[in-house]
C-alpha cells in the first residue's frame, strides 16, 4: 500500500492531504476536507451525484484515485457561487423549483455549469442530453431542465461567472 501527499486547490483554496493511493477523490473531499456538498451515490461512476470539476471539466469523483488530483483545480458546487451569493444557475434551481430531495443536485448543477459555459445558447434538447449522465430518482427532469434553460446566458439567463478554484 502506498501513502502519499496530494496537494490541489479546492474551490480556490490550496489544500494538502496525506492519503493512501487507493482512496478516491470523493472520499478525500468528504472525509478529509469536509466538503459534504459532494454526495456519494452509486460509487461506480454511473449516477453523476459525485460530479466535481477537475481543472474545469466534469468527472465522477468516485472514479478519480487520489494521486490523480495532484496539482489540479477541484471545484464543487460550493465553489460556483461567490461566498453567500448563489451562482445564477443555483438561483435558477431555487426559483424554478428544480430541487426535490436535493441529493442529485450538487452533481446536476456542476454538470450543467460546465455545459452552459461551453454551450451558452443550448436548446432544451441539448440540455437534456448534457445531463443524461446525472440521475434524479425523485421526480421527472422537467423542472431541472427548466432551471438550466432559464440560466443559459445565450437564452437570456444569468451569465455563469468564473468558478472559484
Amino acid at each position: 500500500m502506498t501513502e502519499l501527499t496530494v496537494a490541489f486547490t479546492l474551490n480556490g483554496r490550496p489544500c494538502e492531504v496525506r492519503t493512501a493511493a487507493h482512496r478516491t477523490l470523493l472520499e478525500i473531499l468528504r472525509d478529509d476536507l469536509g466538503a459534504m456538498e459532494v454526495k456519494e451515490g452509486c460509487g461506480e461512476g454511473v449516477c453523476g451525484t459525485c460530479t466535481v470539476l477537475l481543472d474545469g471539466e466534469p468527472v465522477s469523483s468516485c472514479l478519480v484515485l487520489a494521486p490523480r488530483a495532484a496539482g489540479c483545480r477541484v471545484t464543487t458546487v460550493r465553489g460556483l457561487g461567490d461566498g453567500d451569493r448563489l451562482h445564477p444557475l443555483q438561483e435558477a434551481f431555487v426559483t424554478q423549483g428544480g430541487v426535490q430531495c436535493g441529493f442529485c443536485i450538487p452533481g446536476m448543477i456542476v454538470t450543467a455549469y460546465a455545459f452552459l459555459r461551453d454551450h451558452p445558447a443550448a436548446s432544451r434538447e441539448e440540455i437534456r442530453r448534457a445531463i443524461a449522465g446525472n440521475l434524479c430518482r425523485c421526480t421527472g427532469y422537467t423542472k431541472i431542465i427548466d432551471a438550466i434553460a432559464s440560466a443559459a446566458p445565450g437564452r437570456g439567463g444569468g451569465a455563469p461567472g468564473a468558478a472559484g478554484g
Partner: protein, 291 residues
C-alpha cells in the same frame, strides 16, 4: 476506497514497461480509469501494483503521418470529441467519441484504455475495426503493429502479451469522396450500446461505391465486420434500395442473447442500424466528394 495497492507513476514509457515486466501479472496499468476504477471498487480487479500511465506525455500526442492519423493511447475521448487541430479531418472520430458513456467518462477516459479493455459493446473497437486501423504496441520484445482484425480476441481479451502496452493507434484519414457514420441503440442515454454499427463508404468519381466497410459492436464477443454487406455494395450506386438490401445481410450474424436483449433483437438492430449508418455514410461521402 478500492483494494489497497502499491502505486507507481513512472515518468517515462521505458520505466512503465520495466515496472510491468518486474511485477508481471501482479501489475495493472491505469489510463483514464473509467473502466478499471469501477472494477477496483467492485473488487473484480485486485492488482498488487498499479502503474499509473498519466505522466507519460509521449502517449498524448496526435500527429498526421501522410494519409493516416496516429492517435496516442492517452488521448482522451473528450479531445477526440472536440476534434481540434489535425482531428478536424476525422469527423467520424468526433461522432463516435460523443456517443461514449457520459461527459465524465469522456473527460478522463482514453482511446488506448478503451481498446485495451475491449468491451464488446464499446465504440472505439468497432470504429478502429471499420477503419482497418492498426494498434501500436510496445513491450519487452519491442514494437508491434497489430491490425484491428487481429487485435480483438474475445470479450475483454486482446492480442496484447504480458508486459505490453498500447502506445497508440494508426487510423486512415478518409479522403474526399469518403464518409463515415456511427449509429447505435441503447435503452438509456449513456449506457453501452446494445448494438452499434459503424459504416465507412468510399465513392468512386462516377458515384458508385468503391469500397464499403461496416463493423458492429454488441453483436458478438468482438467487433465484427460484415463482409457480405460490404461485397453487396461494391460497384453499385448507393441508392436506398441497394443500401437496404446490403444491410439486410447483417441478419446473418449470430449474436448471443443476454439480459439486455435477445439474439433475435440484436439481429434486428444490426440490420436496421447498418442500413442507417450506411445511408448516412454514403450521404457524407457524396457531400465531401462534391465539395
Amino acid at each position: 476506497m478500492t483494494v489497497p495497492f502499491d502505486y507507481r507513476a513512472p515518468a517515462t514509457l521505458a520505466d512503465a514497461l520495466a515496472l510491468l515486466r518486474d511485477h508481471g501479472e501482479e501489475a495493472k496499468p491505469l489510463a483514464g480509469g473509467q473502466s478499471l476504477v469501477p472494477l477496483l471498487a467492485l473488487r473484480l480487479a485486485r492488482p498488487a501494483v498499479l502503474v499509473d500511465l498519466n505522466r507519460l506525455d509521449e502517449l498524448r500526442a496526435i500527429r498526421r503521418e501522410g494519409d493516416a492519423l496516429v492517435v496516442g493511447a492517452l488521448v482522451r475521448h473528450r479531445a477526440l470529441e472536440r476534434g481540434d487541430g489535425v482531428l478536424a479531418a476525422c469527423p467520424l472520430l468526433q461522432e463516435a467519441a460523443a456517443l461514449i458513456g457520459n461527459v465524465r467518462v469522456r473527460t478522463l477516459g482514453t482511446i488506448g484504455g478503451s481498446l485495451a479493455h475491449a468491451d464488446p459493446a464499446a465504440e472505439w473497437p468497432a470504429v478502429v475495426r471499420a477503419l482497418d486501423g492498426v494498434v501500436l504496441v510496445r513491450g519487452p520484445a519491442g514494437d508491434r503493429a497489430i491490425p484491428a482484425g487481429d487485435f480483438f480476441v474475445g470479450a475483454l481479451v486482446t492480442a496484447l502479451r504480458p508486459g505490453e502496452l498500447i502506445v497508440g493507434v494508426r487510423l486512415p484519414v478518409l479522403g474526399p469522396g469518403a464518409g463515415g457514420a456511427v449509429e447505435e441503440f441503447s435503452r438509456r442515454a449513456g449506457d453501452f450500446a446494445i448494438v452499434a454499427a459503424v459504416a465507412v463508404v468510399e465513392l468512386a468519381p462516377d458515384g458508385t461505391v468503391a469500397r464499403a466497410r461496416v463493423s458492429l459492436a454488441g453483436a458478438g464477443s468482438i467487433p465484427q465486420r460484415l463482409p457480405e454487406t460490404e461485397a453487396a455494395l461494391a460497384g453499385r450506386r448507393p441508392d436506398p434500395e441497394t443500401l437496404r438490401g446490403a444491410a439486410s445481410r447483417a441478419s446473418a450474424i449470430e449474436p448471443e442473447g443476454d439480459a439486455h436483449a435477445s439474439a433475435a433483437y440484436r439481429r434486428h438492430l444490426a440490420r436496421v442500424l447498418t442500413a442507417r449508418a450506411l445511408a448516412r455514410a454514403a450521404a457524407v461521402a457524396a457531400r465531401r466528394g462534391a465539395a
